[in-house]
Symmetry: C2
Subunit: 256 residues, 2 copies
């Protein structure tokens, strides 16, 4: 069964896009079939993979508005071994247009249902908001991966996110579960990060990924070259961490 | 005339809230009358000032929906010398409710018009999105302060933000202008940051604040104590940088 991983956190700048791109690339490099879905109007996952968002004729926007088939929007990124459903600023208009539609939160699910059998993993990069776009991702997903910067605002916002996931589970997607919380941009010399990490271990002992993503400037440099870090600098601590995350996810899968 | 500074950038995690709180505190410490407006449903500016967002009976949400007077929502933070219009997750519902209202983008402006004469500065902390809430702030504002993390995605997203500001200026708020771009979380040992900073100097020579906010862990620790950094650790490089920013803004003002 296809695993549809929703990478979500309404707190901004916690590493959602960096995690989505590099997890997709790591799963692809270990010979899994992967689709990366960008449902953020910023189009960062799109640009970070070297796709020019301004040149897109069909994107996630048209797919959600049912103005185009998902197959016509998906692009193959042969050099990285995975495919992408790209997005751009048009998605902001889609969010407003969806407001008055019936089953508006199911649009992405309807679209992915047609093609998901082709992929072992689908990774969805969400915008920094608990809005209609993130809701569409949660309704379509099988699991949620929550990137967590170990700082106060990110920790404080976790309750609202878990509440939203619970509401989606109770109503339209009973199979949805939190796959794990991923500590990102982690600097072990920073007491605040160590404190917050201890709190996460206390609250979520069995849902914290063992893999921790360190702060590593190669992760911030890679997108300016339109490359996942695996292709930009495969020996960097960032690339190795995301490869380790892919390994942890695959091992968990195999045990089920 | 009251200066209404909109702190906006749809890129997440670039230091909007940190800048809003600490600029408000720095202007207050230098004896200016200041109102901090939180228009982000995350309610980070509210929590970062020690106000419990879960306990609010009236907040920005009721004010935008015209269900309460702004005076009934404003809280005085005597210990910091400024006032706050607080917010919480209710604001997400307000955004949807506003969609079908006439002059929906003017709601904040109508509310602030009634009380702005009491303040020399009003600082508005925006959510990480170019949505109806950020639009309300841009329509109400006299100037925009753009926090910029010197990394690829933040630089790439600048065009869309400047475009939105231009659209607001052409239609409903001709007086709006970009006050300045503020480099935040700046680490001079990082080549990427130096690169991006040079690009900003090239593109925006006269709109880049001279003050640069360094990466300083005290800025990330302060909100967990509900304190502006000025009150948490006034000798920290973070506190001194925001004081310098206030000084630069005041000096620019005086020259006009
Ligand atoms: N582990 C890391 N080490 C260093 N830099 C990182 C790391 N992870 C992400 N970054 C950088 O930090 C910034 C924020 O990361 P990213 O954009 O992936 O977060 P996001 O949650 O997707 O943000 P948004 O809320 O805007 O969607 C980016 O400039 C990115 O390049
Ligand atoms: N100069 C700095 N040095 C170190 N940490 C910082 C600095 N500025 C902000 N931070 C921390 O970085 C994180 C992001 O900052 P902040 O929340 O202010 O950004 P934001 O743009 O308001 O985010 P959002 O897009 O979610 O509203 C926070 O945890 C904050 O404490
Ligand atoms: Mg992102
Ligand atoms: Mg904020």
């Amino acid at each position: 069964m296809t695993k549809i991983l929703v990478v979500a956190n309404q707190k901004g700048g916690v590493g959602k896009t960096t995690t989505s791109i590099n997890l997709a690339a790591s799963l692809a490099v270990t010979n899994h079939s992967v689709l990366l879905v960008d449902i953020d109007p910023q189009g960062n996952a799109t640009m970070g993979c070297g796709v020019d968002k301004a040149a897109l004729e069909i994107s996630t926007c048209e797919v959600l508005l049912q103005e185009a088939q998902i197959d016509d929007a998906i692009l193959a990124l042969e050099q990285y071994g995975f495919e992408i459903l790209p997005s751009n600023g048009d998605l902001t208009a889609a969010e407003v247009a969806l407001m008055n539609e019936i089953a508006r939160e199911q649009r992405l699910k309807f679209a992915l249902d047609k093609i998901k059998h082709r992929y072992e993993y689908i990774i969805i990069d969400c915008p920094p908001a608990l809005n209609m776009l993130t809701l569409n991702a949660l309704v379509a997903g099988t699991g949620v991966l929550i990137p967590m910067q170990c700082e106060y605002y990110a920790l404080e916002g976790l309750t609202a996110l878990l509440q939203t996931i619970e509401n989606v589970k109770k109503t339209v997607n009973p199979g949805l579960k939190v796959e794990g919380l991923l500590r990102t941009m982690f600097d072990p010399r920073n007491n605040l990060a160590l404190d917050v990490s201890e709190q996460l271990k206390g609250h979520f002992p069995d849902r914290l990924y063992r893999t921790i993503i360190p702060r590593n400037v190669r992760l911030a440099e890679a997108p300016s070259h339109g490359l996942p870090v695996m292709q930009y600098d495969k020996t960097s601590t960032g690339a190795l961490a995301y490869l380790a995350l892919a390994g942890e996810i695959l091992r968990k899968e195999a045990k089920l």
